[in-house]
């Protein structure tokens, strides 16, 4: 459902539109209008219908929030489960044991592996090869697709072993877990994770050899940072411009803007400094030194420096992070001892709390206020794609300006590819995509 029209032989004025963007999770569209060789308008629309999570959480018990918010996104439910759980624990003064924290990080590694491989290999890689999808890739190189599928399955299997189910896990709760997984089941992951690290390395090096479009942007990178490890499930909020704040200070620095063309609220920095970037490149640029030696070495071999400002190379960063997630999951699986008890005691009551984790697509922020009974008075959720939306529009502007002479169909594909750099989860941002470029 896309079309491109060129008005006038010179092609000076035209519109490019993609009405329903493929290989993203959810629904969105892009509209670009070009006149006299200049971009007059760019709108990256999210038309995934709103589902009103923040409203429907009101009046529900605190304990319902992780499972309900998980349904915001079927690709990264753990991000929502964990963010909501942390926020509730913050509100109710609950401190889960370090063993529970380790098991949560292991679960989250599963989600990073599953989501990153789905996006990088199945959804994004075909763009660099001029293919419609991974099934076409399977016809020319079945072994690569089979390796990617096996790696994705490993991520899902971690989710099943720890969480009980890959999509919308059932074994998680505020305070920790319903049941500690059996040591034998966790131990059985170890050999597969050693294979997984090798497979992720192979894919990182393969993708590193792609022909990347020449585009860079000096991004404001926002991510979590943890003192001891590459941040996944916990940390302070930092940027490469000197921001370093506790989660409770989030709303002093970040806001959401409601614009007419999108059902996703746009994330903005309250200092007016313009768009900011969350996700793999932001994490990589902010926390590079905390990656494992092997991950940094593979990144270098795959063509990455310590800072990456070419958004198309996010596909390589995702595989470097997948490698790291396999190594980290292996470390945690080998050290696993069942937490006893599997969950900290939680006493319902009033409070307000904050939670933020690194979803595969970037920081996912939760804030709740609870009444005396422990029911939700207000819920605020700031998902990663909503925060990236202004930066996506800024990248599109730069890409269209730099490629004005490109044929419409090629430009349209390049724009789609640019959006897919962000692995946009449109389901979660609604509160995504259809591409139109208009030249008149």
């Amino acid at each position: 459902m896309s079309d491109a029209t060129a008005a006038g032989a010179s092609g000076i004025a035209k519109t490019i539109k993609v009405d329903a963007l493929a290989r993203v999770e959810g629904e969105g569209a892009l509209y670009v209008r070009i006149k006299d060789g200049a971009v007059k308008d760019i709108k990256f629309r999210i038309f995934e219908p709103p589902r009103f999570f923040e409203a429907l959480l009101r009046g529900r018990m605190f304990s319902d929030a992780p499972d309900i918010t998980a349904r915001i996104c079927g690709i990264c439910p753990v991000a929502y489960i964990m963010g909501a759980s942390h926020a509730m624990e913050d509100a109710l003064g609950v401190m889960p044991s370090p063993a529970i924290g380790d098991l949560r990080r292991l679960l989250y590694c599963g989600e990073w592996i599953e989501s990153h491989v789905l996006h990088a290999a199945m959804l994004h890689a075909p763009d660099f090869l001029g293919l419609d999808d991974a099934l076409q890739l399977a016809k020319s190189n079945r072994a690569v697709v089979e390796k990617a599928l096996a790696l994705k399955k490993l991520g899902n299997d971690i989710l099943e072993v720890i969480g009980g189910r890959a999509v919308h896990p059932v074994n998680t709760r505020v305070g920790g877990f319903y049941k500690a997984p059996a040591p034998a089941a966790v131990a059985a992951l170890a050999d597969r994770l050693r294979w997984g690290a090798d497979a992720a390395q192979d894919l990182a090096l393969l993708f590193g050899g792609f022909d990347f479009p020449d585009y860079e942007y000096d991004y404001t990178c926002v991510s979590l940072r943890h003192p001891d490890v590459y941040a996944i499930e916990a940390g302070r909020l930092v940027s490469n411009r000197g921001l370093d704040i506790a989660l409770a200070e989030f709303f002093d620095h970040f806001g959401e803007l409601h614009v007419a063309h999108s059902n996703a609220l746009h994330g903005v920095m309250t200092d007016g400094s313009g768009p900011y970037l969350v996700g793999p490149i932001a994490r990589y640029n902010n926390n590079y030194a905390q990656l494992s030696e092997r991950a940094r070495d593979v990144a270098k071999q795959a063509g990455l420096g310590p800072v990456c400002n070419n958004p198309y190379r996010s596909i390589v960063v995702r595989m470097v992070e997948t490698l790291y997630a396999c190594e980290e999951a292996l470390r945690l699986a080998e050290a696993y001892e069942p937490p006893a008890p599997p969950a900290a005691d939680v006493v319902p009551g009033p409070g307000k709390g904050y939670g933020c984790t690194e979803a595969p697509r970037g920081i996912c922020f939760h804030h709740y206020v609870l009444d005396a009974e422990g029911r939700i008075v207000t819920a605020t959720i700031v998902p990663p794609t909503a925060q990236n939306q202004p930066q996506i529009e800024r990248d599109l502007l730069g890409v269209v300006e730099a490629n004005m002479g490109m044929a419409d169909d090629d430009l349209k594909w390049r724009c789609e590819q640019t959006i897919r750099n962000y692995d946009p989860c449109i389901s979660c941002a609604t509160h995504f995509l259809d591409l139109r470029v208009e030249r008149d």
Binding site: A20, L21, A22, R23, V24, E25, G26, E27, E48, P49, P50, R51, F52, F53, E54, A55, L56, R58, R60, M61, D64, D67, I68, R71, C73, G74, I75, M122, D132, D133, A134, L135, Q136, A138, R142, V145, L149, A150, K152, K153, N156, G164, R165, A166, V167, H168, V170, N171, R173, Y178, K179, H258, V259, A260, N263, L265, E416, C425, S427, H431
Partner: protein, 258 residues
């Protein structure tokens, strides 16, 4: 020998989290075989390629929440020989059907600063409220093995083997200790359709009904037991009012505890 045309499969999305169509991509061991057996004619989450209808089989995820959705599902129905709904959103309205119990404008103003920018219906409704559906596959999310069974059955011209009995039967078959009897934990298993793979009770958790009501569920009796286990009316209401809140037996029972 005459070449046999591959059946055309389409996957459609309405209001949802994408988790059910993701279940198809999560069939890692079977995906390439499925792609060999059918022509994937429309599956926006996985491919740019789009083949025009009519389609032999349409899988529909998500619920109807906008005026445009109604127009679109009618068009899809016309183009589809067989239409199967997948997941709690498509079969019961999903978690977003909680809006059906409130005034939708209050929901819009709670989330969005500029309510006039939002076009939405007052309710989130299942697909069968708008067009005839040939088979409903339950779950939040669906079970991928049940999905493969349904696709396989259709390709071979037989009825899918998807049990309609309760979660309790599954616990007994697996030898899982009853959480309600042994721990006194209120559980929706007696009124919930089996199919998830016996997940929650296996981790000492009560079933929370994500596969929706079984055939002829006695929800009133179970709600009485919940009361005996010390669950107050608001908790009984909320227990029935989650991912399948819009399914008739669960809706009725939740409203009995307002």
């Amino acid at each position: 020998m005459v070449a046999v045309r591959k059946p055309k499969l389409a996957v459609w999305k309405f209001s949802s989290c994408d988790g059910c169509q993701l279940s198809l991509l999560d069939c890692e061991d079977e995906l390439l075989a499925v792609a060999d057996a059918v022509e994937i004619a429309y599956f926006l989450e996985a491919t740019r390629a789009q083949v025009k209808g009519p389609y032999d089989v349409s899988l529909v995820e998500g619920s109807v929440t906008t005026p445009e959705d109604i127009r679109r599902i009618r068009k899809i129905r016309k183009q589809s020989k067989v239409l199967i709904t997948i997941g709690a959103c498509a079969t019961a309205g999903g978690i977003q059907a909680l809006r059906n119990f409130n005034r939708v404008y209050d929901f819009i103003t709670a989330v969005y600063a500029e309510p006039d920018y939002i076009e939405t219906l007052a309710t989130s409704t299942p697909i069968q409220d708008h067009v005839p559906v040939d088979f409903e596959l339950r779950g939040c999310p669906i079970n991928k093995y049940q999905l493969l069974e349904v696709v396989n059955a259709l390709l071979n011209g037989r009825r899918p083997v998807v049990p309609a009995h309760s979660q309790c039967v599954e616990c007994k078959a697996h030898g899982t200790v009853c959480v309600m009897v042994s721990q006194g934990t209120p559980c929706l298993g007696p009124v919930t359709q089996a199919g998830c793979g016996n997940l929650c009770p296996s981790v000492n958790r009560a079933c929370y009904g994500c596969f929706g009501p079984k055939e002829m569920p006695n929800t009133a009796s179970l709600a009485g037991w919940f009361g005996d286990h010390g669950l107050g009316p608001p908790h009984v209401r909320d227990f029935f009012r989650s991912f399948n809140a819009g399914a008739e037996p669960f809706r009725r029972e939740s409203e009995a505890h307002e």
